[in-house]
């Protein structure tokens, strides 16, 4: 709409306005009103688009990053088979501490990629493989062959030679690990950090367990 075009009804409407107007500030003509309405509509559309665009892009980036950070949560239990050595290296009725490389380690883990287990040979072809983590809060237990006890240095949990709970805060016996004998070698299935809810890799069920859920 051209600004310079004179309004043909100008004089007449002005005279009418002088008689009718209640206050001089709020007077507006159609052209200005349409202008205001257009600009308001434009601002509203612009603001809505802006907010929607920002929220959408923020959500995409945010959810994406959150998924990236939380991805380990959605992996299941991860374990792998590791070779614990020739079975003839283990004496019957003796418990040995064995150092292995964790089969689910990262290449850059360094020393943290190592993992230790206790292996007790019960008979010629029968083994008991225990995790070193105390079931109370995960500290490594020490084996004492003289008394046949595992002792935990943190809060004093004690376990018998078969891993069952003897005394102290642990709610159950030591965690058991799945194992098999392949070509005269003991293979152990291990890797994940054991907790009370995701414990043994074997199908072992501990007989006694403190029921601490209210």
């Amino acid at each position: 709409m051209s600004e310079s075009q004179p309004d043909p009804n100008d004089q007449a409407s002005e005279k009418k306005d002088e008689q009718e107007q209640p206050s001089s500030e709020e007077l507006i003509d159609r052209r200005s009103l349409l202008g205001v309405l257009t600009r308001s509509a434009g601002t509203a559309i612009g603001l809505t688009t802006g907010i929607v665009a920002t929220v959408a892009s923020g959500l995409v980036v945010g959810v994406g990053l959150l998924a990236y950070i939380c991805e380990p949560m959605f992996r299941g239990k991860q374990n792998g088979w590791a070779d614990a050595g020739n079975i003839d290296d283990f004496r019957v009725h003796h418990t040995t501490l064995v150092n292995l490389m964790n089969p689910v380690r990262q290449p850059w883990d360094g020393a943290a990629g190592k993992i230790a287990i206790y292996v007790r040979r019960l008979a010629e072809q029968k083994f008991l493989v225990l995790n070193v983590n105390c079931t109370h809060l995960g500290c490594p237990v020490s084996w004492f062959p003289q008394s046949g006890l595992f002792m935990c240095p943190c809060h004093g949990g004690i376990n018998h030679e078969d891993g069952s709970r003897a005394a102290g805060p642990p709610p159950r016996g030591l965690f058991h690990l799945k194992h098999r004998i392949v070509n005269h070698h003991l293979h152990v299935f291990l890797g994940h950090f054991p907790t009370l809810q995701e414990a043994d890799t074997s199908s072992y069920e501990p007989e006694e367990r403190f029921h601490y859920h209210p």
């Binding site: 230790a116 983590n133 003289q146 008394s147 950090f193 009370l196």
Partner: protein, 487 residues
């Protein structure tokens, strides 16, 4: 421009060049000289001391990060390098460690001061809530920081932390993998803690400090309770305005105390760091070295003691419920008592709470250092049976003394004060337990003691009890058999 006076007016011209562009006279100067009530004393300096300490930690932390490598292969070696091969590297590590320690205490002192003076009441409830966020973040920095030391204590501290996380119902195992960044403690774990310590929680603290400062400046410093009436939202603002009319500018009249105290705190941290040096690193973190005694930094010894002392059925409550309840109580403090009396002598519950909680924390921390529940793993082969306890003993009794050592009894039981503290000192045990009671105790155990009946043959039990029966001083007789009950 008059060149003859040019040199003398350079400072003035420099000042005005900046001031005309920064406008501090209209913004920062009024802020710094805002009125505060008179007679505040030195009780209000702890907040700024916290900020000073935090910036000290940032400065030393940045310096440490120039050398420290957050990889499981190299972290321990870079810390050893800092300790031994970098000029004054040990001092840098020491300042960062002791700065964290002093800051942990200072945040608790500041919170106690605010609580005891009821400065959390209307209209400063939000300030308190932001402060709760700050104190939790500070403790988060302490935990993640000690992990970054990545020695044997740190490695097993991660294990303990995730063993606790694993107990959360349903989502426990997923939480464990989230914290570990994978199935096991590894490089991804250290990276996560590094990011948390250096970026996430630090950034959060900076953000919360900003909000905290905004609130403090907007709402003003609360007057001393002795000068204030009980808080009533209808009349508080008018009373406060009256107090401010008779107030003094914060800077320099009150702010000089903050400057002096912050400087003093820095000097104290430096002195402690110079005297005591850095912490560790302890042994390198090798998962196959199982003969370790993991211990947390002093800030977490109280929880360590609590977990050891609590009976097993309480474990779940202490690990998962108690922290949530404690945080909930902290959050509810200003919401439960936003108005009313501020003076300490009219608020006995508040004063008693602080005294009791402080005492509990100190007692548990001290107990966490003594750790009597931990067996002394090497006592059985490093502490000989005291000579006077084996003199003039029969062969069976001597065999029992050997049994006492070889079966690791000494790890938990002391003789004449040396040995483990997990069980009672047995120097006088024969005066307390007769023959039957001794046999029962050895075979069945009970409480903190395992049932040794599984670990000993009958003759070993016989010899051990024979030895234990000799453990009484000559003036006190051994406990006798009870008389048969009549009928």
């Amino acid at each position: 421009m008059n060149l003859k006076n040019g040199f003398i007016t350079i400072p003035s011209r420099l000042f005005w060049w900046f001031e005309s562009r920064l406008g501090f006279r209209k913004t920062l100067v009024p802020l710094a000289t805002h009125p505060v009530p008179r007679g505040l004393g030195w009780w209000y300096v702890f907040g700024s001391a916290n900020a000073t300490l935090f910036f000290l930690q940032i400065a030393t932390g940045i310096s440490l990060a120039l050398v420290y490598v957050p990889s499981t292969e190299n972290a321990w070696e870079t810390l050893r390098y800092l300790n031994e091969d970098v000029k004054l590297g040990w001092l840098l590590r020491a300042v960062h460690y002791w700065g964290a320690g002093v800051m942990s205490i200072m945040v608790m002192v500041h919170m106690s001061r605010v609580f005891l003076m009821a400065a959390f009441k209307y209209p400063r409830e939000l300030t308190w809530l932001v402060g709760v966020g700050l104190i939790l973040s500070t403790w988060g920095m302490v935990f993640t920081g000690q992990i970054l030391r990545w020695d044997s204590d740190a490695y097993w501290a991660v294990g303990i932390g995730i063993a606790m996380a694993g107990r959360v119902p349903y989502i426990g195992p997923a939480l464990v993998r989230l914290v570990l960044g994978g199935p096991m403690i590894g490089g991804d774990t250290l990276s996560r803690f590094f990011v948390l310590h250096v970026f996430v929680i630090s950034g959060l603290i900076l953000l919360l400090i900003t909000v905290h400062l905004y609130l403090v400046l907007w709402l003003g410093i609360s007057a001393r309770p002795s000068q204030s009436k009980p808080v009533d939202p209808d009349t508080y603002h008018k009373e406060y305005e009256e107090q401010l009319k008779n107030g003094e500018p914060f800077f320099p009249n009150s702010g000089y105390k903050d400057l002096i105290f912050s400087a003093l705190v820095i000097v104290v941290v430096l002195c402690i760091a110079l005297i005591f040096g850095p912490k560790g690193p302890a042994k390198p973190p090798d998962p196959t070295w199982v003969h370790v005694e993991p211990r947390p930094d002093w800030q977490y010894r109280a929880i360590f003691a609590l977990e050891a002392l609590a009976p097993p059925y309480m474990d779940w409550w202490i690990m998962l419920i108690f922290p949530l309840v404690a945080i909930a109580i902290l959050v509810l403090v200003p919401l439960a008592a936003p108005y009313g009396e501020r003076r300490m002598n009219r608020r006995p519950v508040a004063v008693l709470s602080v005294v009791v909680i402080a005492f509990m924390f100190i007692a548990l921390t001290w107990y966490g250092y003594r750790a009597p529940w931990s067996p002394h793993m090497y006592a059985w082969r490093s502490r000989a049976v005291p000579v006077d306890l084996v003199k003039k003993r029969s062969p069976t009794e001597l065999e029992g003394a050997c049994c006492f050592q070889n079966k690791q009894c000494r790890n938990c039981h002391a003789l004449e004060g040396s040995g483990g503290k997990r069980g009672p000192d047995l120097t006088d045990v024969a005066t307390r337990l007769n023959y039957d009671a001794l046999v029962r105790q050895v075979v069945q155990g009970g409480g903190l003691m395992p049932a040794y009946g599984r670990q000993l043959s009958a003759s070993e039990v016989e010899a051990l009890v024979a030895f234990l029966r000799t453990l009484h001083t000559s003036d006190k007789p051994a406990a006798g058999e009870p008389a048969h009950f009549p009928g």
